[in-house]
């Protein structure tokens, strides 16, 4: 596969000697305009990689924070076309920050999938994380995505044992997303020592960078996880900050952008701690 923005970004950070800070927001939360403005400001706040959630009515792998975020976006009328428009707009001013679309398969399947890949590629999408497409379904989207130069990011989990790992790695590209806990997003914080051990074990079998997510909420957790991984993903905490900044009618205020940005500024400092020893 050709080199993508994701490959370049992880390679550059490896040279810097630190992990990537990956920030998740849901596209269109709380509305498309506010969401785009927030997205554009994420890189300067400290996001090395942006994960953009494609809202879905039934986010089965997500905890309440991301569920509510998804519902807010859908209620405000977010569509797949608007999500891809956001990426296109973002790319006009930022040619380097990798963008990964994250979500569930059905909205892509009905788009339909081949048109989605063409439009996503044209818009400037670099990777996909599709929660309900395990390796057994690689013909659906993973392999066609590779054909248009989009990385298909695989998830490895605490239940991914030695027997399972080769299947997970087979068509993986970009980086590997290690799900730090058996569970849904935004719940219990992971134990850094356990995570580091799991990441080290997986590294025996792959040269791909490994980013860790699920349950990371504080700068200290980011700092701890970053010492044994190539990236740290924060999602639920950021979308909760978006929610905290809404007015009583659920509409955007200045705070809707400023709170999550302040949080990203604070948390992303955690990936630099390793450079200070």
């Amino acid at each position: 596969m050709i080199e993508t923005r994701i490959d370049r970004r992880f390679a550059a950070l490896k040279n810097e000697g630190r992990a990537a800070f990956v920030a998740f927001v849901t596209a269109g939360d709380p509305d498309t305009k506010t969401s785009l403005e927030l997205m554009k400001k994420l890189p300067s706040a400290g996001a090395d990689v942006i994960e953009l959630g494609m809202p879905f009515s039934d986010p089965m792998a997500d905890g309440p924070a991301v569920q509510y975020s998804s519902q807010r976006a859908l209620k405000a009328g977010q569509t797949m076309a608007k999500t891809l428009d956001m990426v296109r707009e973002f790319r006009k001013t930022d040619k380097e920050t990798p963008i990964i679309l994250m979500g569930y398969y059905n909205p892509i399947y009905v788009y339909p999938a081949d048109k989605f890949l063409a439009d996503a590629s044209a818009a400037g999408v670099d990777g996909l994380i599709i929660v309900d497409l395990p390796p057994e379904t690689d013909n659906e989207l993973c392999l066609p995505a590779g054909d248009v130069g989009i990385n298909f990011i695989r998830l490895a989990t605490p239940t991914t044992d030695e027997k399972r790992l080769p299947a997970v790695l087979r068509n993986a590209s970009g980086f590997l997303y290690y799900v730090s806990i058996a569970g849904i997003t935004g719940t219990a914080p992971p134990d850094p020592a356990v995570v580091h051990e799991a990441v080290a074990a997986i590294k025996q079998s792959t040269d791909l960078p490994i980013a860790v997510g699920f349950g990371v909420k504080t700068r200290q957790q980011v700092s701890d996880i970053a010492r044994g991984a190539d990236g740290v993903v924060v999602g639920s905490a950021i979308v909760s900050a978006i929610a905290d900044g809404l007015d009583s009618n659920g509409l955007a205020t200045r705070e809707t952008i400023e709170r999550p940005l302040a949080l990203v500024q604070e948390l992303s400092r955690g990936v630099f701690d390793i450079l200070d020893g």
Binding site: M80, Y109, L133
Partner: protein
């Protein structure tokens, strides 16, 4: 009729190794669950070949659930409709009042073999929740049932029943608080407790191997009908009719007859206020293919692929998807999928009660409402078997409400 039909040797050979019925079915689940799904498939394949497993299941089916259920000739409805000879497969007489026990017994024995100590389930009307709580009590396992907050309100007696049986009922307020949301929440629980927990899915849907496994457990219905109708009439039936939500009672009745070309088969979906109104639960008649809850199948969804709410007077049919084998049988043209409205089902509910002294659940009342349309068009020697898959005791309060009667 598709050209595939002439090529196929059998409609009963699915699913393939990937869990697919044609392009439906499959395993669309989070990676965390994949190892367990594969383990479950292996455990089920092993159990299927084990005579001890079959013996234990048959023994429980007979002495605990009360199988075989009778095949009953309904004389007054036959006379009233003035056409086909109508038989009811009396699965409402099973322990816990519906066909759901056929499946929960099969799965709890599998959970026991796999060393699981904790059972989770989703429920809509509460029938599957009750059937799960029942077998969990019998096998001394912890039981957690997820139920939409909206459904908890309209099915209070079943909620209390589950609690009496020792289950914890967790109200689900996410989304619209109905069956699909309960299933989402059960999946979230499963992913967090994957080592200890067995997810006992109530219908012939979800990731492989559930659709095939639940179908196998429910096929006892159709297999008994084959024997019983031979005994009663000396030949196979001409038509089969069953209601469809997720489709477990229907596939259980239909599957043993799929290769009998002379048997016409009808699945009856819930048209709610009418398929054209958008307020219905008819995934096959009013939906399109998509991916949800681990399988590709017909779904109620908007143009963006967002799942829309199902609506039906019957909480047991109120699901925006359907088992993948039904989607395949629809595309193959082997089964005719039709739909009847709330009002038609309510009329059939009352008619059956008055003429046969059987209070049907609102779910099979949908099947009967279609029988009411079909039977008069058929000759008097036409044999029609309808699955009476649940009893209506749970529905009398709701029906009173709809009829404007205060209790």
């Amino acid at each position: 009729m598709s050209s595939n039909e002439t090529i196929l040797n059998s409609f009963r050979s699915g699913p393939d190794e990937e869990g697919a019925f044609g392009h439906f079915g499959g395993r669309f689940v989070a990676e965390t669950l994949m190892p367990l799904i594969l383990e479950l498939e292996e455990a089920y394949e092993t159990a299927k070949k084990d005579p001890d497993y079959a013996r234990e299941l048959n023994d429980l089916a007979k002495h605990y659930a009360g199988r075989p259920s009778p095949l009953y000739f309904a004389p007054r409805l036959t006379e009233h409709f003035g056409g086909a000879k109508i038989y009811f497969k009396r699965d409402e007489l099973n322990h816990t009042g519906s066909h759901k026990i056929n499946n929960t017994l099969g799965q709890i024995l599998l959970a026991k073999r796999m060393g699981k100590k904790r059972i989770i389930a989703e429920t809509g009307a509460g029938q599957h929740g009750v059937a799960t709580a029942t077998v969990a009590a019998r096998f001394n396992m912890e039981c957690v049932v997820y139920m939409g907050a909206t459904d908890i309100e309209r099915q209070a007696p079943n909620v209390f029943r589950m609690k009496l049986l020792g289950a914890t009922v967790i109200p689900v307020t996410a989304g619209t608080g109905t069956l699909k949301d309960a299933m989402n929440e059960a999946l979230r629980d499963w992913v967090a407790n994957v080592e200890s927990t067995f997810y006992l899915i109530g219908t012939a849907a979800g990731p492989h191997p559930y659709p095939a496994m639940v179908r196998d457990f429910q096929s006892v219905i159709g297999n008994e009908v084959r024997e019983q109708i031979m005994e009663a009439e000396g030949r196979l039936p001409d038509s089969l009719v069953a209601c469809i939500g997720g489709g477990s009672n229907a596939i259980g009745l239909f599957h043993p007859f799929l290769d009998d070309k002379g048997v016409d088969i009808y699945g009856v979906e819930a048209a709610g206020k009418g398929v054209e109104t958008g307020e219905h639960a008819a995934s096959l008649n009013g939906g399109k293919p998509g991916v949800l809850h681990g399988n590709r199948t017909y779904l109620l969804q908007d143009d963006e692929g967002q799942i829309t709410d199902a609506y039906s007077i019957s909480a047991g049919l109120d699901y925006p998807g359907i088992g993948p084998e039904h989607s395949w049988l629809k595309e193959q043209g082997r089964v005719n999928y039709v739909a009847v409205t709330d009002n038609e089902a309510l009329d059939a509910f009352q008619l059956c009660t008055k003429l046969e002294g059987i209070i049907p659940a609102l779910e099979p009342a949908h099947a009967l409402a279609f029988v009411e349309k079909l039977a008069p068009t058929l000759s008097r020697d036409h044999l029609l078997v309808m699955n009476m898959c649940g009893r209506g005791d749970k529905d009398v309060f709701a029906v009173a409400g709809y009829l404007g009667v205060g209790l």
